[in-house]
Every structure is written in C-alpha cells, then in structure tokens.
C-alpha cells in the first residue's frame, strides 16, 4: 500500500469511525435489540433444552450465537445507509473530485463496520457470560469468537455497501433488513439442524450459510475447539466478504463514472 493510499484509507476510516461513534441511534439499537431477543428467547425456549439431542442444557448459551448474527445484520444497514446518504447528499461526488481511489473509499468505510462489530461482539459476549452462558473453549475461544464476529460484521458490511452503491438510496438499503432477517430465521437459529422436523425448513436451513456461521460460534461456546467448524465459519465470512467487496467495487465503478 503506498503512503498516499494509506493516508486516504486512514482518513476515511477515521471519518467512518467518528460517524459511527456520533450516531448513538445506530449503536444503541444494534446493542439492545439482539440482547433483548436473547433475553426473551433464552427464557421462552428454555424448555427445548429438554428435547433429546439438544446439545446443551443452557438455551442462553445456544442463543448467544444468534446475537452475533443479528449484530452483523445491523452492520449491513449501518454501512449501507451511511454510504447511501453520501450518495444522496453529493458527498460521494465531492470525494470523486479528489484523487481518491475506490479501494480506499471502500476500505475506509468498512472501518466503521469493524469498530461497530468489535463493540457489539464484546458487549454480547461479556453480557452473555455474565448472565451464565458457557464458553467451553475458554479464554482463547473468547478471542476467536470476537474475531469471527468482527469478520462476519465486516463481510455483511460489504453487502450493505454494494446495495448502497447499486441503488443510491438509503430507503432501498433499509429494505434489505427483512431480506437478511429471512436468512437468519430460516436457519438453525432457534434449534439445531438435527432437531428441525419440518422437511422444507430443514432443507433450507441446511443450505443456508447462516446455519454454519451459527455453528462456528456454537462450537466454541458449547463444544470447545472444533477446528473444522471454526474454519468453515471463517471461510464463509471470507467468502461473503470477498464477493461483497467485488460486487461493491464493480458498483462503485458504475456509480463513479468520472473520466
């Protein structure tokens, strides 16, 4: 990375982080909402731990994985909405008039997602553990969960950026939320795959990558070190991030038709 590119990424990252920190309306719901659902679901579905084959007797531990995914969903919306607003207000045009590189713009924007992802992951994990969730993988597992959560958040953030660059509309980006919610719900979110009885739901959940991201988190929380499951989780995050970044880069080229 050249010095100039480094400066550009640094300054855009700084802006992205400042924006994130100055918008409590973005941070608070992304922290509160998943924790509320965690509280409700861990109470409401506690009895399902009595089902034969359920992997743990703590539904809180099982459901803690969901918070990381929900946090990542907020990242899609936040990173996308921020960029869409830049397009709507003409701020992107202002940046297009500078020697800014597209890669610097995208990397800088992701810095905000990264910070938000880090704050979310720490909050979910610490609060979950404080309320009695297990972490079989120990201290090392703690850091791997944080790393995985940040990776997923950043990966999902690229999709938000792509949507913003493609549509140029904050409203359209907000409209992605339900789509992602569908992905989350049609996964092994509430029950492990082996306990999903409805055939079509089982099939959908089995091919839904979200199930395997959840599995990676749960393996660390419930089972300990399962390298293949952890690697699969990171691999999926990397895959989504790479595809998202490629799509966002291509959309940026169309959006910035500067000569």
């Amino acid at each position: 990375m050249t010095h100039e590119l480094g400066t550009q990424v640094g300054q855009l990252a700084r802006r992205s982080v400042i924006r994130t920190l100055r918008q409590p309306a973005q941070i608070v719901p992304s922290l509160i909402f998943p924790l509320f659902l965690l509280a409700v679901n861990s109470g409401g579905l506690k009895s399902v731990t009595n089902l034969p084959g359920f992997p743990t007797d703590s539904y809180l531990t099982f459901a803690l994985a969901i918070t990381f995914m929900q946090g990542a969903l907020f990242s899609v919306i936040n990173s996308g909405t921020d960029l869409a607003r830049d397009i709507e207000t003409g701020f992107l045009n202002r940046m297009a008039l500078t020697p800014l590189r597209g890669s610097a713009l995208l990397s800088g924007l992701l810095a905000g997602s990264l910070l938000l992802g880090l704050m979310q992951a720490l909050a979910y994990l610490i609060i979950g553990l404080a309320f009695g969730a297990e972490l079989v993988a120990g201290v090392g597992g703690f850091f791997v969960i944080i790393a995985l959560s940040v990776s997923v958040t950043v990966a999902f953030g690229t999709i938000g950026m792509f949507a913003a660059l493609r549509t140029g509309s904050g409203e359209a980006v907000q409209g992605l939320f339900p789509v992602f919610f569908v992905f989350l719900f049609l996964s092994s979110m509430a029950l492990p795959l082996n306990l999903i009885q409805t055939d079509w739901f089982h099939t959908v959940a089995s091919i839904n990558p979200v199930s395997y991201l959840l599995q990676a988190f749960r393996s660390l929380l419930i089972e300990g070190w399962e390298p293949s499951k952890i690697a699969l989780g990171f691999g999926i995050a990397l895959g989504i991030g790479t595809l998202g970044m490629l799509a966002a880069s291509s959309a940026l080229k169309s959006r910035l038709v500067r000569t």
Binding site: Q11, R15, R258
Partner: protein
C-alpha cells in the same frame, strides 16, 4: 499525451473551452445540446439559466463527473474525457448540494478533504486553518456541520473546494436559498478569489443579479443551448436601448409630453400616467430629453431611465422571462434524477 503537451489547449492552462458538448439521457430530451463556450483564465464566467436548462449537467461534464455523449472540452488545458485525473487536480468544485457530512465538524471536513488531495500533515493543518479563517468559520470550526446555517454550509463548501489551491473553480448555484447577507458575503469572496488569486470561476446561477454583479462574461443557457453570450453590458446593449419615462405634473399635458418624447425614439408601453420611449441615442440622449421638455414648458413630476436587464435579454432570446421559465422545474425532475444516476444514453 504528456502533461506538457496537454496544457496547450486553446483556452490556456487556466481556462475552459468546450466544443459541441452534448449530453443525452435515456429518457427525455438532450440535457445539453451541443454547447460551445470559452472561459479565459482569471475570468468569472456566469452561466445563467432557469432550473432544468442544462447548467448542472454542463458542470458535471466539465468537472469530469459525467462523461459527455458527444463533443469535447478542455479544462485547465486537459481533455475532460481522456485526462480526468489531471482535470480534477486543477479544479475545485462546489456542486449544487452543499455536500457536507452533518456529523463532522468544519475542521474534520478540511482535514479529510486536504488529505484526500494528498497534502502532508503540516500542510493540511495550515491550509485548513487558513481557509476556515478566510470564509469566516474559525469560531465554528469545531462544531458539527449539522448545526451550521445555510450560509455557513455554503462557505465551508467553498473552502473545501479551495483545499488544494485549484486554478479553476466551479460553483453550481452557490447562493441558492441563501439570505441576502450570506449571498453578498459569498459574492465578495468569489470576486476576491478571481481578482487577487487569479482563480478562473465558472459560476452557474438562476439569479440575474448574481450574474450581473459578479460575472465578467455571461452565457445564457436554455433547453441545453447557449442562446446568448457576452459581458452583461454587451448583452444588454445588444437587445436594446434604454427606455425613458416621463410623468407630467399636469395629467392634461400627457399627450404633449408624449409628442416631445417621440422626437427621441419609438414610443414604448408601460407608462400609465405619462409617456415612454426607447431612446434611439442610448443613455446619452437623456440630457436632450430633459432640455426639450423644459423648453416646451412641461413641468415633470417624475423622470425615469430604465436600463435593459438580463431578464430583458433572456426574454428577447427565448420569448419568455427568466422568472416564467422557472415553471419548467417539475418537468425536468426526471432529467435531474438521471443526472444523479449518471446513466449513459
């Protein structure tokens, strides 16, 4: 093409030259329909026209943000299609929306802009502080822009456009929506930039007064075509002569007054209580009119000389007044949306 060769454009290193510039959008008419223009270095060029006339599309093309469908243009001696990065390094632009981030402070905006232009750390601090001071925002520099007034936002926008000391400045309707005080302050700064720093200014406006006060030369654009171009004085002189209107103290002398005035030019409409004529000798004929009325013993209550305005120029060239042309705004909304989306034809 190397930098040295490419600066040999006919408008010189700090000017603008466009030949047959066209921009079409998928749906709708040509937003810009083959315009030719030339802006000399150090000149303030006013691009005057109603909303939807093609002003912003022209600016987007000249600033390299929108490729032209046909035609060529050189800005600062560089081709806008082939040498986009070089054009951008030579120009500054404050586009129609004051594109600012409400969550950042003025200082943070300056820091971001100067670093994107590749200025070193020390230079960034110096340049940022200097520009904020110049536009009178030093005291507000550490406040978030979301709390700025419209005038403050426009001034910050201008300061950001000047971050890398551009030789050419594009201002797209910089005073739209501002109060008179803020507008005047911005005019003064733009005039100073041209006069003291030698910056070439390409300014679009829908305000006649702005073009009249600020611009060395004016191009009038309507439906994507330049319909008139010249200095404000030339344009006004081109379309006609001043009108003199006299109202006698005694209403019964109205016809007598009209007869005297008729010696100096053709009768003109619009004088309900007196008489009016288009002075065939221009402004210079006014003294003779006064002497003639006096020698005829007509006591005059009011005597007014109406100089032609740029609106008269617009009226003469397009058949409607600039104010009336504003009604076209809604019809062109789709077009403007497409400018934003920048879809090629």
């Amino acid at each position: 093409m190397n930098a040295e060769n490419s600066t040999k454009g006919t408008a010189g290193t700090d000017g603008i030259e466009a030949i047959g510039l066209v921009r079409e959008f998928k749906k709708g008419p040509r937003a810009v329909d083959g315009i030719d223009l030339r802006v000399e270095p150090g000149e303030i060029y006013g691009f005057l026209g109603p909303n939807g006339a093609g002003k912003s599309t022209t600016v987007l093309m000249l600033t390299t943000l929108l490729p032209p469908t046909a035609g060529t243009a050189r800005v600062a001696g560089f081709d806008i299609v082939k040498e986009g990065p070089r054009v951008r390094s030579a120009i500054g632009a404050a586009l129609q929306e004051a594109a600012l981030d409400p969550l950042l402070t003025g200082t943070e905006h300056m820091r971001l802009q100067t670093s994107l232009h590749g200025l070193g750390k020390a230079e960034r601090e110096r340049r940022g502080g200097e520009l904020l001071e110049r536009v009178g925002l030093t005291r507000a520099a550490d406040r978030k822009v979301g709390g700025y007034s419209g005038g403050m936002k426009r001034r910050l926008d201008l300061a950001l456009a000047l971050a890398h000391e551009p030789r050419i400045l594009f201002l797209d309707e910089p005073t739209t929506g501002l109060d008179i005080q803020s507008r005047t302050a911005l005019w003064e700064e733009v005039a100073r930039l041209a006069a003291e720093d030698g910056v070439t200014v390409f300014l679009t406006t829908q305000y006649l007064e702005e073009a009249d006060v600020l611009a060395d030369r004016v191009g009038i654009i309507d439906h994507g075509n330049i319909v008139a171009e010249g200095t404000p004085t030339e344009l006004k002189a081109e379309i006609g002569r001043p009108t003199v209107e006299a109202v006698p103290c005694n209403p019964e002398e109205r016809e007598h007054t009209a007869a005297v005035l008729a010696r100096f030019g053709e009768p003109a409409d619009g004088a309900a209580k007196g008489a009016a004529v288009l002075l065939s000798g221009g402004d210079a004929g006014l003294a003779e009119v006064v002497r003639a009325l006096d020698s005829e013993g007509i006591k005059i209550e009011t005597l007014q000389l109406h100089a032609p305005s740029l609106d008269d120029v617009f009226l003469a060239k397009t058949g409607r007044s600039l104010e009336g042309a504003e009604e076209a705004v809604e019809e062109t909304e789709d077009e403007r949306a497409e400018v934003g989306a920048a879809e090629p034809a």
